[in-house]
């Protein structure tokens, strides 16, 4: 479960004030709102990439408000994937595991497992340059899921994809949820995408949340 309790976040002259919400464990929650409504600011606050001025953020029964991003147990998939151009797909899948000090054998087992699951086996030694949008997003998903985070945050992961690739990633996201039971917070502009994937849709309007 993700729980936000009366949080206030400032981003330049923009404020999210006294915002509270609960996202149940294992749910797929879509967060919608107009451009500039603060969706990404909220996501950054939850992930620890933007400081919270007041209030608290909980992941499960752990308060994470003042923890570093890497200590929160949240995987992040940005809109463009934000892949590391100098690393191969295998190195992407093992990145978090290496930083967290996993043994080589355990890292290799996990990256192989993710590659098979996400259809990346033939790409393991490729660099991101020249990959399709769908392949890039699958790598970004694998990288975020590698360390078994209890929460996955998706920032418009389908918006830059064509219709066919979008369908492919929707299927991958559905499978991720079914297999892992992970809690997903998914920012999107697209209502049909939200209705297809999410079991709860929230709207952020003028800094306030509406169901």
């Amino acid at each position: 479960m993700i729980s936000l309790r009366h949080i206030t976040i400032q981003a330049g002259s923009f404020h999210l004030r006294d915002l509270s919400m609960e996202i149940p464990t294992g749910s797929h929650t879509a967060l919608m709102g107009r451009t500039g409504s603060g969706k990404t600011t909220l996501l950054e606050g939850i992930c620890g990439l933007r400081s919270v001025r007041s209030g608290s953020i909980w992941v499960g029964d752990r308060e994470v408000t003042n923890l570093l991003p890497g200590q929160r147990g949240i995987g992040l998939v940005p809109q463009d994937g934000a892949l590391f151009d100098h690393l191969t797909v295998r190195q992407h899948l093992e990145f978090a595991l290496e930083v967290r000090g996993w043994a080589t054998e355990r890292r290799e087992t996990r990256s192989q497992e993710l590659a098979e699951w996400l259809g990346l086996t033939s790409l393991l030694d490729r660099l991101p340059a020249g990959m399709s949008g769908g392949e890039r997003q699958r790598v970004a998903l694998g990288r975020a899921l590698a360390f078994h985070p209890p929460v996955l945050c998706l920032d418009e992961p389908l918006s830059a994809l064509d219709d066919q690739t979008r369908g492919e990633i929707v299927a991958v996201l559905t499978e991720i949820r079914n297999r892992t039971g992970i809690t997903i917070l998914h920012i999107t502009h697209n209502r049909s995408e939200a209705e297809r994937l999410a079991d709860r849709i929230l709207h952020l309007r003028d800094g306030r949340l509406e169901s």
């Binding site: 950054e44 992930c47 620890g48 929160r72 967290r100």
Partner: protein
């Protein structure tokens, strides 16, 4: 211009010039000082370029202007300012144990003042072009800010760092004005290649001056080819590549 220089000199002049102990000293000192200047410039420019590209802080615009001063100041003024700086009490005390003015360290310092400004500008543009989301994702994956910088930002900035290094090296090689004022033009002591051109011209040995000039032109062409090979990342931030 280059063709005219080429026709003015002969391989014999060039060979004779390379055989001169003074010119060989100048080549050695130029290579050594430019390399040390480049390393020092990168050591300073990488953190400053990153700071300027990523963070907002009070006085940022002032610092930005300050960093560009060596690029816009007349070279002689940079030399004069360095000379005056080393007349202050603390630095005069330093010079009693570690001579700088009119010695080899002054050559490196004079080259560093301008080369570093070019390296900072190049690297600031390089870091600004790297998607900050990559760093943020690395942090959610378990990196602290320093680890994200080493593992993600620095490798992504590699072409820009190589470009900055090449520009700093080439800029240092052509530096003359500050060196003349701050280091003097003493043969076999503070003589670098531009000093040699000046000294040879001043005694009327035009052939030797042209031969050394051609050496410098060759180095500049190699440096610019390397910059283009490495992709020229960050060159947009360098508005001019003036001679000192």
């Amino acid at each position: 211009m280059v063709v005219a220089d080429l026709f003015y000199t002969t391989p014999g002049h060039l060979w004779h010039a390379l055989g001169s102990p003074e010119i060989r000293y100048a080549i050695r000192l130029s290579l050594l000082s430019c390399t040390l200047t480049t390393l020092l410039s990168l050591w300073v420019a990488v953190p400053i370029g990153y700071l300027m590209a990523r963070f907002e802080f009070p006085g940022r615009a002032f610092l930005d202007a300050l960093l560009d001063i060596p690029i816009v100041l007349p070279p002689l003024v940079i030399g004069l300012s360095l000379l005056i700086l080393f007349q202050t009490a603390p630095l005069r005390a330093l010079e009693t144990v570690f001579p700088v003015t009119y010695a080899v360290p002054s050559v490196i310092l004079a080259q560093f003042m301008v080369a570093c400004a070019f390296a900072v500008r190049t690297l600031r543009t390089t870091f600004a072009q790297i998607n900050p989301r990559q760093e943020q994702v690395a942090m959610t994956l378990g990196c602290n800010r320093a680890q994200a910088f080493w593992r993600v930002v620095l490798p992504a900035a590699r072409p820009g760092i190589l470009t900055a290094a090449t520009l700093a090296w080439a800029r240092a090689l052509g530096e003359f004005g500050p060196i003349l004022v701050f280091s003097g033009a003493t043969r076999m002591k503070t003589e670098v290649l531009p000093t040699t051109v000046f000294l040879e011209l001043s005694v009327g040995r035009l052939e030797a001056a042209v031969a050394v000039s051609l050496l410098m032109m060759g180095s500049a062409v190699v440096a610019l080819l390397l910059v283009r090979t490495w992709g020229g990342t960050g060159l947009a931030g360098v508005s001019s590549f003036r001679n000192g």
